[in-house]
Amino acid sequence: MTNASETVPEPFYAFSAKVRAHVASGARFAGLMASASGSDTQLMAVLSHRGTLLFERTTLPASARQYPSFAPEIASAHWYEREISDLFGLASVGRSALEPLVLPLASAARRPRPGSGEQMPLPSLDQTPPMTRLRGEGAFTISYGPVRSGVFESIEYLVETPGEEIPSMNLRVSYKHRGVEKAFEGLSVDDGVLLAERYEGVATVAHALAFCGAIERIADLTIPVQAGYVRVLHAELERVANHLDSVIRHVEAAGQAVAFARFSLHKEHVQRLRSRLCGSRFGRGVVEAGGVSGPPAISAAQLLRDLDGLEADVRADAKLLMNTPSFLDRLRGTGVLSPGTIVAYGALGPLARGSGVLEDVRFARPYAAYGQLGHRLLDVAGDGDALARQRVRVQEIEGAFGLVRRAAEELAERGEPHDGLWSVAPPRVSGEAVGWAEAPQGEVLTWVQMSDGVLTRVKPRSASFHNLAMFPLAFPKDILTDFAFIEASFGLSVAGVAG
């Protein structure tokens, strides 16, 4: 390997020093994103200091094909560096081999370089799947995926095991890489929202909110007050649905047939309620840049009536489940993430909150109407195991129902916006900004660059991308039969990782 300092420009070192200094002073490393601009590559590091976002930037010229890695000090930077290596052909130097993450291409292959606006050739369909790498003595590798038993998104877990324990694991998400970031190039804002919704389909509303938040920041728009409440309503129902999905996966793994049927039924009722509110079971088409497409399709009174039954059903079953010893035994002490790991990897969402790191974007950097709604503190022990994460989700379901209720009441009280408009069309502007939202999985960040109303670079960063990197570390004392529980307790979506 050549010495990185030969080609790396001086400003990079200043950038790198600032990022390291932020992390040393306790800021959470929240992402390293890149955007091609001509033959140069812009790099942006995002950090969160007590909930406030900090941005550091630099530009690498075409002559610099590599840069010194952050990963030795900042563990969570590693996956971002792998992704940048795949998409931009820019390698980080300083840690062991940089394996492909989202795009398994030969090293000489042309890179998509999102932001450049250049067309890529169509792909060849004759790809050979990547080889499984073996290491360690007496250990063998179980290749689990990409087609697994059950209805799952495609992902491959390469579990290295001497028999039962799981000392190390590798993940491959590239199977379902769609090239979404490149597909944003040249789209209008309106089309961009539709694509953002499909970046991570189970967190449709959160991704639309983060994307539109960035647009509204660029255009300096204030959304109608009522639109903020509609946004909260849909975002919180999305949270309920996702957390119920996580519960379903837990009880399915535990073989709790009645609980499985009950929670599946509740989730179906939530999805149906969502479709009655907007026509889509995933809240698609609700969030627009500048507001929302309209009020809920059913009255607030009807919504509150429906919530009564649904909430009572969920609460009763959740209470019973959290008092079912045979279930709790499977989760207690399973998949423990140490506080050290949580901090080093900057864990997000319920995963972090299960270990006592309570940061929640909804209240740290309020968006939509969260600033006007009360903040309900979680009561968690922070044990860091699957049970703690499950407790967080059960409490968040309660909290989300409360927020839906509050939003519906506010909407009933306030009526239509003054001018009858539920959204303010954004002007055709240029600029860039980062938007955010707390998806059910955790913080979503979306970096948007646009020129005269046309998107030039959109980089959504899902919580799943950030959190999945920790998955191999969640098996300190666990064995193969715990796998399903630990996966369920992470509650992630692969689409948001593979991009």
């Binding site: 890489h177 009950r262 039924l265 479709s275 889509s280 088409g285 079912t324």
Partner: protein, 276 residues
């Protein structure tokens, strides 16, 4: 033990579909209908606004390709005289061309031929249908709709439909996602190890046409570039009811009834003659 009475708490929640229509879907946005094929000057705006270029105009008037439609509803907003949301979810088709509505009349006899050929192929599956799902680059929502088929509302086991862990036991391959390059080898391999007869269902606009991402460096515009598709289930994502219709269509277990909404007198599944 306390779970047993819990299972009885809400009584019977299972849908009557396909024996009779389900009230829920009647209230949702299942698809978009072309209610008038005569274009107005607004049609140019509609064609530009459609994010997946699903709308075209030919000699017969306006046509909508449901295989591309992601149900954003812009056409309905701009030209309500031509387009409207419809609650119907029985949109699955045996031919790609059948998703372009209104369909050309001359193709109707073709449909029967395709239907009969498929019916002969799946004849011996009877009422034990094993389904294997493979994700080839979905956004994740499609999997939720498929997983929902086993919840007590849809309860597909009552119809003899089971999800199977191994493709070697599968009769139906349910493919989600836009056919990502990374999944080509795994998808082909899964298909190859399935025993005959086998049926491939493409679910959702992404799997049928690529949807919003028809062209890209990692996609080839749907799974039909990788496998021969037998049944197309439109939607974004395809809803659970839409999937149920698609699976029943694939294995020729749909009760024979008029497609128009509201006909309550439908024969039960068990009474249906197959291959007729």
């Amino acid at each position: 033990m306390p779970w047993i009475p819990r299972g009885l708490r809400n009584g019977i929640v299972t849908t009557g579909y396909p024996r009779k229509p389900d009230g829920y879907e009647a209230k949702s946005r299942g698809t978009i209908e072309v209610n008038s094929v005569r274009p107005t000057p607004l049609i140019d705006d509609v064609m530009v606004a459609c994010p997946t270029r699903a709308i075209s105009v030919d000699d017969g008037g306006i046509r909508l390709d449901r295989g591309k439609c992601i149900l954003c509803g812009r056409c309905v907003d701009i030209a309500p005289q031509n387009f409207q949301f419809s609650p119907s979810f029985e949109m699955s088709e045996l031919r790609r061309a059948g998703l372009v509505v209104p369909t050309l009349e001359e193709s109707d006899s073709n449909v029967e031929l395709v239907r009969e050929t498929l019916a002969r192929r799946v004849k011996w599956l009877h009422r034990s249908i094993h389904v294997r799902h493979v994700d080839s680059g979905s956004d994740g929502a499609d999997e939720w709709e498929i997983a929902a088929l086993t919840n007590p509302v849809y309860d597909v086991q009552r119809l003899g439909i089971y999800f199977t862990a191994s493709p070697r036991h599968a009769d139906v391959l349910l493919v989600t996602g836009l056919g990502s390059v990374g999944m080509v080898a795994s998808l082909r391999h899964t298909y190859e190890v399935m025993p005959e007869p086998k049926v491939v269902i493409a679910t959702g606009a992404e799997a049928i046409s690529g949807g919003l991402m028809a062209v890209g460096y990692a996609t080839r515009g749907g799974v039909s570039s990788i496998l021969d598709v037998d049944v197309y289930v439109p939607g974004s994502p395809a809803t659970s009811f839409g999937l149920l219709h698609g699976i029943l269509l694939a294995v020729n277990l749909l009760p024979k009834f008029d497609k128009s909404v509201g006909s309550d007198e439908r024969p039960g599944v068990g009474k249906t003659r197959r291959g007729a």
